[in-house]
Symmetry: D2
Subunit: 396 residues, 4 copies
């Protein structure tokens, strides 16, 4: 009996103001009583309860993720043009050092060229009808009513613009993949609201059997081929040509060995069945997104990437990285919170007008990691670096 | 000239002790001079420079990620048995509330059954020979020398055990997918060291043309089909039967609507080409791993999951979640650092002997998110919840 | 010496007319001398050498693939409306009987509704430049010169129409995915010619470092996610509602068991990592394409499909099949050759104006197989049917 | 009324002997009456009704697929050692010529080295229980009863041997992926029977809620990552080193251009999301399997392959092809039927003891196609070849 009662016990909340110091302290005391754990480090936060309202519920404190500064990284983009230092939040020893090494190689080679190719994010309501014929008619209706749908969707937002709708007919299910421009916000909440309003409008008009919104076809927070095909968020290509002497000095190997080893990487990825035709993009990307208050749960989407390494006619190494699904923002979400904002400011990427710049820098930073990591797997230095800089040393 | 010199400027480091307060402060001053940004929030850390040695280089401070407490969550596992409260680190408003709702539904239904099915992690050196015949002979050599390879690999570690080697012959490339048991550590550094030693030993013995280690076939930090097939890290299944009244009261819908909507989710995933046959596992999993000091860059690997929802004969809803690639640990890496350790302690999951318990709890927590998120997409409450609890409200 | 000479011996060819009876007979005699094999069955062909000119080189005869007739199959499409009998070429005992059973179930349930949703085929030249910036500029050039490119491409063909170009920027590589309408021809040769001409035109104008045409991104004869996303060839949905009594009488099971079993199929596909979210579409599709002279090597593309099975409110079974990549034609290629034409004529699908009709029938025929195969796996009759009708009987 | 009656009309069958000339003729007459189509070419078969019993139902005749002879192809395998000529059945003009060109290039370079790495085929019953804990217990039961299961399975077959069972626990579903050796038969019917018997035995012993057999996890006739990982059927690697002069003379390009172009192919495949990291393996493979009476519906499985092209130190081109899922046989199924047997005999691959030889030859033949096709896409000759040899010429 007693046991059952306890099993259902809720985390204490304050009806008046759940973000007050008192409400937070009450929860921490309750945890102490319940589990014996005193939250000393979690309680050591410079951001206040008020600061995190809208970012978290049942707030009990913070975890402090260490940040290291990598660079210099030279980027020759259309939006980012200059030398940057990159804050990376991680607990993996050697990560910052390795990315820094790659960034230096890029910078010494004249910098990474960067091009943003598209910039849109999708959300996908699905409508279920009785039969495929009915669903097909619905899709005709969507064509005929596109302007009204657009108007309804855009009425919810100042910044979001509906760009187009890709339609799918899968048996009795009709999916509307709605593409939006979201300005400098990552924008998922923005466009989810917009499509929610649109989906309700459509539902009233056409009375489907059921609606699923947002549907799995939106592919939030998963690796999905559809995003690789259409792009999601910022679609960016970056590349660099590393002269032979830079490869030798910084990476301790040769362009030829790098290019040959790359083919082994391709084979390994193919055998493993990865969507990602790259080395290790998630590593630095996660660290950068975590440092800057992004929604890190989008990393599975963002790591759908393609890296190439090729010998140039002149004996250098051409390296490119294609990131078709970079999901990030410089306004909204968590970016204005405490250290996240500071991290963005270090790169001059905080606030309006900075999202595309940030995307180009992010891709160039990950390019640095691709170069350095690959070199380490070629030369056999991968483990050594982790042993020298990391926590876990092997037994002798 | 001046410009080029500056472009190459390194982040300041101390040769004597780069983790001293002075070294850290020097870097922060340098950032201030360089960029004008004063790191106030980043500097407000209760973990010291010494604490983070081995976790980061060029340390400049921390980012504070807000943590909320979800639950209660009842787990009926072989390693975790009881009611738990789950710390989740995120800046996405509504996430903690939504997962908490799902956990409560599970708990009110008697808890989530959990089974850990396998527990091993792989790393994969690749050896390149001149021709496929030579590579095939090498694989015979590996069979004949398995015991020596095992001995060499295990000589580097107290806890890691080599379980088996899966061999691949891909043209002139031979890959050795080495399976290890890593105890309570996530263990990637441990087994990378072990296989590094083994790969060097093999290299000396058989003189291949080249070695790639660790190779892309290890699939670190990518979604990969091979891991779905073989399991990686902890392979866990959890399930629950939600009675009709719980579905109605907590989720505002019916088992039938949930089960029917699930099929739409399947269709959406298939159309999108996801490896993940689930709703949204990355969301809560990222938040849990971030709160507990795990290597969050493994989320792309871990979200290769399968969820099912089915109507039971008795009119309830059966829900299961299969997580074949849960990569986490309760010792090593970042888990002992400040709030991370506190987060693990809240669940009594810190330290030796706790990793499998933590895996079962993690899977059950994600199951809660699958239930709650799916219900919200069925009932149309998804946007409402985000608007009520999140930062970004739509215009009226 | 002698041996080396023989190793290089070519298959005999006639310079004057390699499709004459004499040339063919010479080759058959040469085979007899070389290998001792007399081609009796291969030589028993009613199609002549002249007939197969343009379809084959070094013609030595034919293989005779047995054809069985399945049906009746009622289709309620926009292009196919009526009852059809379906020729299937196979050597797998039980295939025709099983598909026939499924078709009968569909027909007794009122027929399969069919909708063709899109109709286009792509070919993709890739252009390689020095750097990503240069490739990006090229893509702007493509936009500015779209009309000229279209004109050049369409100058090669009476029927093919260039519909649009999807552009990709992947590092220094620019890909142009060119969408064409191909009328009633499968059309790959047609549009390969068109894009070849366009690619040469572009090459002359912009002088890329190299061109790959047709590139792997065209995805000919592979399963590819991109085709699932965009459709390739005919994109068709078909569905049917099977009343309970039909399921019981014809399939020896219940709608509920079928729907529940379907979820197990979904789980199995997800665990196996298939692109195909269906049962067995390749089986009947291959047989139908082989009977009608299609290019059977496109089956890997065409089996990227989605099947659903659901219980209806009225207790029946809703079944749908989505085939986004049906690659077939009713003119051109091998369709006019001997029995292939006869097979098409049986369905009134030979010649101009029939391709969409054929696509709807093909999808409905495969739907029959999905139903029958799935039922057999539910009831345990799968092996029995193969034992009764097939060649290989198990030992008692 | 009348219409409804006709809609249900069955294809005529003879109860006494449905493979008699009379029964077959009756069906053809019925088709003539029903559709007006006279099956002249279909009726011109040298194989008799009796011959095809066990391969087809409702037999109405044959389609004659033209066969061309490609080669010479030198193979240096463990099972195939010598020079072979390869029968290919297709209606795609230029295919035989193109593959022949690639085979000659291989032969002039000393032949293709071939290694068969594994040889097993799987079938996968799935068992559904109430909860995941129950399913986990079942898997323990399987371990404890492996010997009995093996005995029951093998009691149905003289040639099939159960090699091992891979177990999966996915929520309440337990899958047994049963690996068999099938001798020289493709063996799917053989092992389906064996596992059917085993599944019935298990069902009686453990009383699961339901059984699905064979389940989708068997992945028959789909491209599936699981097969890439574990191998299915014959797993074969072949490779060759083409000297520069052979590349220039036969392929009209250079090793360097081939190797560079290969990277573009990799990028295209990655962007398209193919499981196949190759050029065009389905093309010749389909033609070879069709010529030899194999089950062509397995091509989607078999095209999960990896090709590599690399410059050697000596300036030649290394090319390899990895085919982990070659599903073929030299006894059973359709291989003894008419021209199919003759086609196998041309390669001395008919009957017992020949399956591995055939697998090595098949892989080497496809390697020839990879080489020739890739060269054509590099040099721009792809369209030209099809125009010269094929049916569809572009307008001038």
């Amino acid at each position: 009996m007693e046991k059952n009662k306890n099993e259902m016990e809720s985390v204490p909340r304050s009806r008046e103001d759940d973000y007050s110091d008192e409400a937070i302290e009450t929860r921490r005391r309750w945890i102490k009583e319940k589990t014996g754990v005193e939250l000393k480090h979690m309680a050591a936060h410079s951001v206040t309860g008020k600061d995190v309202e809208g970012n978290i519920e049942n707030f009990i404190g913070v975890v402090q993720v260490p940040v290291g500064l990598a660079g210099p990284l030279k980027v020759n983009g259309e939006h980012a043009d200059g030398v940057f230092y990159i804050p990376l939040a991680t607990t993996e020893g050697a990560l910052v050092a390795s990315y820094s090494r790659g960034m230096r190689a890029i910078t010494e080679s004249g910098g990474a060229e960067a091009r943003l190719f598209s910039d849109h994010t999708q959300v996908t309501p699905m409508f279920v009808f009785r039969r495929t014929g009915e669903a097909a008619e619905f899709l005709d209706w969507v064509d005929a009513n596109y302007d009204r749908i657009k108007e309804v969707a855009e009425s919810t937002t100042r910044h979001g613009k509906l760009l187009k709708i890709d339609k799918y007919l899968i048996g009795r299910r009709a999916a509307l993949r709605m593409y939006y421009y979201t300005g400098d916000a990552m924008g998922l909440n923005m466009i989810t609201n917009a499509s929610d309003r649109a989906a309700r409008f459509i539902e009233e008009q056409v009375k489907p059997e059921s609606v699923l919104f947002p549907s799995s076809m939106g592919t939030d927070k998963k690796s999905a081929a559809i995003n690789m095909v259409t792009g999601r968020g910022k679609r960016v290509s970056v590349d660099v040509v590393l002269p032979e002497e830079v490869v030798e000095k910084r990476l301790h190997t040769t362009p030829r060995a790098m290019a040959q080893g790359f083919l082994t990487t391709v084979v390994g990825n193919a055998q493993a069945g990865t969507l990602t035709q790259s080395m290790h993009p998630a590593n630095g990307l996660t660290a950068l997104l975590m440092a800057t208050g992004q929604d890190v749960a989008y990393v599975p989407d963002s790591v759908a990437t393609i890296t190439t390494m090729e010998l140039t006619e002149e004996g250098g190494l051409y390296v490119s990285l294609y990131m078709p699904c970079l999901i990030l923002g410089t306004v909204g979400g968590g970016v204005s919170l405490g250290g996240f904002r500071e991290a963005l400011e270090i790169m001059d990427c905080y606030g309006a007008g900075k999202a595309r710049k940030f995307a180009e820098i992010a891709a160039a930073a990950v390019l640095g990691g691709e170069i350095s990591t690959h070199a380490a797997t070629i030369t056999g230095e991968f483990s050594q670096a982790h042993n020298r800089l990391g926590r876990n040393r092997p037994r002798e």
